[in-house]
């Protein structure tokens, strides 16, 4: 078990800066992020995009901002658990928390700070009758191990790159591959689309266009998928697996089940200290909401500073907090 003062969920710019504000008050931090590297969206999605509204920087590339934040927080020796998703939260008798991840890491902390940004990206699920009943029983939202589908009948649904790529790949592995797509063309990846049309012409796969999934059925395990095509007639296909591939969408994930007040997928906080309705849990940055909320990095930085002042009373309940300027006291590393 990892022990720390503050467990920060999310290692984007706001989570990283929270380490600095906590460090000034002698609180240690451990950060968890579902991505394999720090930086959140900035490093994952737009590392080379310039940002123009960071005070003091007329322009700075997203990745450069992350690099500088890492340098700024280095004196406070933050620790990281990366590539793991936070799953569980257990409150202890003394008011502290144990946070558990998808890979079984456990972090014991006095305070939990959620700096989760957009949340975590989960597969988008189509609106298909009884789909949830067959999850793990023939319905899979990603291809983890293609061998799993060897000599099986597989239906894929979707029109994006991953639907095309897996159709091509599984055509060699599965007994039969069927791709169902609501359109009659594929707008992305022309090479993959051409290959899929070719496989269909050669009779290697079945390509069903202008059709939508409507229901799935089976006896404990999936064995039939129904769809409606252009002619509005419902048809069914026997299958072992259905793989809906409709991209990823950002969701709160397991955090949404922790008893926090949620409004439109964002966590409600008190702007006095960015605390949530649950004692000892704070939410800062894009993941929180309050009247007048602006999703700006600089607002997240401000929220981190106020959060740290309030979190102090949980970490050091017997000490009185006196506010100190870095210009007077400097930055004293651990």
């Amino acid at each position: 078990m990892i022990k720390t003062d503050i467990c920060i969920i999310g290692a984007g710019p706001v989570g990283l800066f929270a380490v600095f504000e906590a460090g000034l008050l002698k609180m240690r931090c451990h950060l968890i992020d579902t991505l394999p590297q720090v930086g959140g969206q900035l490093s994952e999605i737009y590392p080379r995009k310039p940002i123009y509204d960071i005070p003091g920087y007329p322009t700075i590339d997203a990745q450069d901002l992350i690099d500088r934040l890492m340098e700024q927080i280095a004196p406070f020796k933050p620790e990281f658990t990366l590539g793991e998703r936070v799953e569980t939260l257990l409150k202890q008798d003394d008011g502290s928390y144990i946070v558990g991840t998808s890979d079984g890491s456990l972090i014991h902390a006095s305070v939990v700070v959620i700096a989760g940004g957009l949340g975590c990206f989960e597969p988008r699920k189509p609106d298909v009758q009884d789909l949830a009943n067959f999850e793990g029983k023939g319905v899979e939202y990603m291809v983890k191990n293609p061998e799993h589908f060897r000599a099986k009948k597989v239906i894929l649904a979707g029109g994006g790159d991953s639907a095309l790529d897996w159709t091509i790949f599984l055509a060699d592995v599965a007994e039969r591959v069927t791709l169902i797509h609501r359109g009659d063309t594929f707008r992305g990846a022309p090479d993959s689309a051409e290959k899929v049309f070719e496989l269909a012409r050669e009779g290697v796969i079945d390509l069903i266009l202008q059709s939508n999934l409507v229901s799935v059925s089976g006896n404990g395990k999936l064995n039939e998928v129904s769809y409606i095509g252009r002619d509005k007639i419902k048809k069914s296909i026997e299958t072992d697996y259905l793989i809906p591939l409709f991209g990823l969408s950002p969701k709160l994930g397991p955090i949404g089940t922790w008893g926090l007040n949620i409004d439109k997928s964002a966590i409600e906080v008190n702007t006095f200290d960015y605390s949530t309705n649950v004692e000892g849990i704070y939410a800062i940055g894009d993941i929180n909401t309050y009247p007048g909320k602006l999703k700006l990095i600089l607002c997240g930085f401000h929220e981190a500073a106020l959060m740290a002042q309030s979190a102090f009373k949980h970490v050091y309940p017997d000490q009185k907090l006196s506010f100190k300027y870095t210009t007077v006291y400097g930055v004293n590393s651990f």
Partner: protein, 106 residues
């Protein structure tokens, strides 16, 4: 000033007046007009929660960029008249257009 018509999830249509000199996206206008859309990603064509169907005027909109195309292609419920409101900048050409809100409510 232009007028566009918005159809909410209950099928109710409401005209709204929008100034064209504000440099806002349709997503931002919808949010400002208190329509319930999540706009989780804040306008980066990442979440598709601002998915709209263009009931009138589709052909007069600028064509979608790669990011928007890729996102629309992955959506289970997108049609050929689908766009992401965050990628549509308010312009004079949008006068009289009709949009139906489609994106997830939660």
């Amino acid at each position: 000033m232009i007028t566009i018509t918005i159809e909410d999830r209950n099928g109710e249509q409401q005209p709204i007046e929008v100034p064209t000199d504000i440099n806002l996206s349709l997503m931002e206008v919808l949010k400002a007009s208190d329509y319930s859309i999540l706009a989780t990603c804040g306008g980066m064509a990442l979440c598709a929660t601002c998915h709209v169907q263009v009931l009138e005027g589709y052909d007069d909109l600028p064509t979608a960029g790669d990011d928007e195309m890729n996102m629309l292609d992955t959506l289970p419920d997108a049609g050929f008249d689908s766009r992401l409101a965050c990628q549509l900048r308010i312009s004079k050409e949008m006068d009289g257009m009709v949009f139906r809100i489609r994106g997830d409510e939660q």
